[in-house]
């Protein structure tokens, strides 16, 4: 976070200096209004989710609509968990397994490749890296679904979470991010010095690179987890409703019980809780990672 807080402190110092552009950085009432309205709009749908999830269906369709939480949350959650069509608990478990497996693998694969691209010279390395960048521009998920689905059919993997996990492991953004991060966090001299000391490549990775790129790995891990947790199209194709991910389970509820708002909202509310926990624990890293990545890309 050092790079993020640095501009703020320079700004503060500048502001004290007489004249100059100090006024430009002062928050006006307009600034505060914009930010306050934004935060209210950001939070409102989430708040509304709690409101409806804790009501009854009669109250949810009242006019005017309710804006305060009611007392039926426990009962509604009970109904979601025992609903015979949603298989909600299985969905929750599957989503956790899928997201965790993919996150760990993608971070490892990307850290390995990032180290090779950033700090090892090898023939063809530049071309291979360019290939990664090119594939980032291709919407593989839309482009490849038909053959991927048929591949899963012929492997008889349809309905199993293996079929969801494996294609997700391909993540060009991760390789790109870790290459950038390694370039910046691991000085070349450090690698050279370890080499002179006789360390093998794997040992350098473990003892020199790994400790230095840990913050980058955290950012990539958080991003990947959120991305996989939220993905919807591929699990919808390749899984069956009786062994879903949490998003597919919500979709089953939505398709079968379209007017049972409190049921759907309770399911939705539970599905975002893990993400909210991640957000609260790692919010600082998420914002830092986003801002770093944007400037470099």
């Amino acid at each position: 976070m050092t790079t993020l807080s640095a501009p703020a402190s320079t700004r503060r110092r500048r502001a004290k200096a007489p004249g100059g552009a100090s006024g430009l950085w002062t928050a006006t009432p307009m600034t505060r209004l914009i930010l306050a309205v934004t935060i209210i709009i950001s939070a409102f749908p989430l708040y509304y989710m709690i409101v409806i999830a804790s009501r009854t269906n009669t109250e949810a369709t009242d006019m005017p609509p309710p804006f305060l939480p009611g007392g039926n949350l426990g009962e509604n959650i009970q109904r979601v968990l025992t609903n015979p069509d949603a298989h909600y608990l299985a969905g929750l478990t599957n989503s956790l397994i899928i997201a965790a497996t993919v996150t760990v693998s993608v971070v490892l694969i990307s850290t390995f490749a990032g180290f090779a691209f950033a700090r090892l010279n090898f023939r063809g390395g530049k071309v291979l890296l360019l290939l990664v960048l090119l594939t980032m521009m291709v919407p593989l998920q839309q482009m490849g679904i038909v053959p991927l689905y048929r591949l899963m059919v012929s492997l008889e993997w349809v309905g199993s979470i293996k079929a969801v996990i494996l294609p997700y492991l391909l993540n060009g953004f991760g390789v790109f991010l870790m290459t950038q991060y390694t370039q910046q966090a691991v000085p070349n001299e450090l690698v050279e010095a370890a080499r002179v000391d006789g360390a093998s490549t794997l040992r350098i990775w473990f003892n020199v690179v790994l400790p230095a790129v840990r913050p980058g790995m955290a950012v990539l891990g958080i991003n990947t987890f959120m991305l996989i947790w939220n993905d919807f199209m591929w699990p919808l194709i390749v899984l069956t409703p009786d062994n879903p991910t949490v998003q597919v389970a919500i979709n089953s509820l939505n398709a079968k019980y379209g007017t049972d708002y409190v049921l759907i909202f309770s399911g939705t509310l539970m599905s975002i809780l893990p993400l909210i926990v991640v957000f609260i624990l790692f919010g600082r890293q998420i914002i830092g990672g986003l801002m770093e990545g944007a400037v470099k890309a």
């Binding site: 993020l4 320079t10 950085w25 090898f122 482009m143 939220n230 979709n251």
Partner: protein, 324 residues
């Protein structure tokens, strides 16, 4: 990111002195060769293995399938470019293209403007900086399906909050799902709610790389704040703008989850396909009609659409920045 913390730390375990010099023994030199020449390839190989299986293979086969005609009985027939010519004459496909483009424009233009405004506000000296930034980013952590579920309720015809609010102004309730434009607007607001804050944070990062001296010099020259925003901030943001716009283009043209959830999980996109996107069209052809060839051809046309869209937007942004 705190880079300095770990980067300067020396290697923890000193290496055994015996291996300090590579000895010209044959076994050892093979290991050295393995370590120096082969290790980089081994390190990048997992990615390329995955790329081969889950990237290149499906891409190639999508092209291959697109030349065949599949029907429900399982017969497969070579049609050459038949799928493509049929699709170019298919009103349903063009409807999906128009829907996708319209939602993309309705969502993206206000989103970029709002994100710039928001980023400018975030760039001021404010209290509770982290809290405010997290608040702005909050929608991003919500799953797309969850967003769509809530907004579908908010846009409900009979009991929705939006119609209720419109009622204060004497407007008749709108059936948001029934017609094209209202459904596009409803879906565009879902996209904007989720992504405006994210783009604002990206713009903020870009704004913080602009040297402060530029603004000071402009102030001394008497340029107003508005003028500084348009003549310094916007042109200097060009690289960030390109990143944001290309990202939105790919995301917008592959739109799937929001409109699907808006129609209760059905990929038909409304009774008359009024908000079916190209991604939903591909899904419907491939996994509802089981016409793999047609779906594959649609996937390639979508790719073409994305390439053209990205190129146009890229040139547009360069133009905008270049004029200033």
């Amino acid at each position: 990111m705190s880079l300095h913390v770990d980067a300067g730390r020396p290697t923890r375990a000193p290496m055994p002195p015996g291996r300090r010099h590579v000895r010209p023994r044959s076994g050892r030199s093979f290991l050295t060769w393995l370590d120096l020449k082969a290790a980089p390839y081994l390190l990048v190989s997992p990615y390329y293995l995955l790329f081969l299986i889950f990237g290149l293979f499906p891409l190639g086969f999508t092209l291959y399938y697109s030349f065949f005609d599949y029907d429900l009985t399982g017969t497969v027939e070579w049609t050459g470019l038949g799928n493509y010519t049929a699709m170019l004459a298919d009103a349903d496909f063009w409807k999906a293209v128009v829907n996708t483009l319209a939602m993309f424009v309705i969502a993206t233009v206000p989103q970029i403007l709002l994100a710039l405004l928001l980023a400018n506000a975030l760039n001021k000296r404010i209290k509770f900086q982290l809290f405010v930034r997290l608040g702005v980013l909050l929608p991003l952590v919500t799953s797309v399906v969850a967003v769509a579920v809530v907004f579908t309720q908010l846009y409900g015809r009979d009991w929705g909050v939006v119609n209720w609010v419109l009622g204060w102004f004497g407007a008749d309730p709108i059936d948001w799902k029934a017609q094209r434009l209202p459904s596009w607007i409803a879906i565009a607001t879902m996209i904007d709610w989720r992504w405006t804050g994210y783009n604002a944070i990206i713009f903020l990062a870009g704004m913080q790389t602009i040297p402060k001296d530029l603004y000071e010099a402009a102030s001394i020259d008497g340029a107003s704040r508005r003028r500084q925003f348009w003549q310094i901030t916007i042109p200097m943001l060009r690289p960030t703008m390109i990143f944001v716009v290309l990202n939105s283009t790919i995301g917008g043209l592959t739109l799937f989850s929001e409109p699907t959830t808006f129609y209760n999980g059905n990929v038909h996109g409304g009774s008359d396909s009024q908000f079916q996107t190209v991604s939903m069209f591909i899904f419907e052809q491939g996994f509802r009609e089981f016409d793999y060839g047609y779906a594959s051809a649609a996937a390639w046309l979508l790719f073409l659409l994305i390439l053209v869209g990205s190129a146009i937007n890229f040139l547009l942004i360069r133009r905008i920045g270049g004029n200033k």
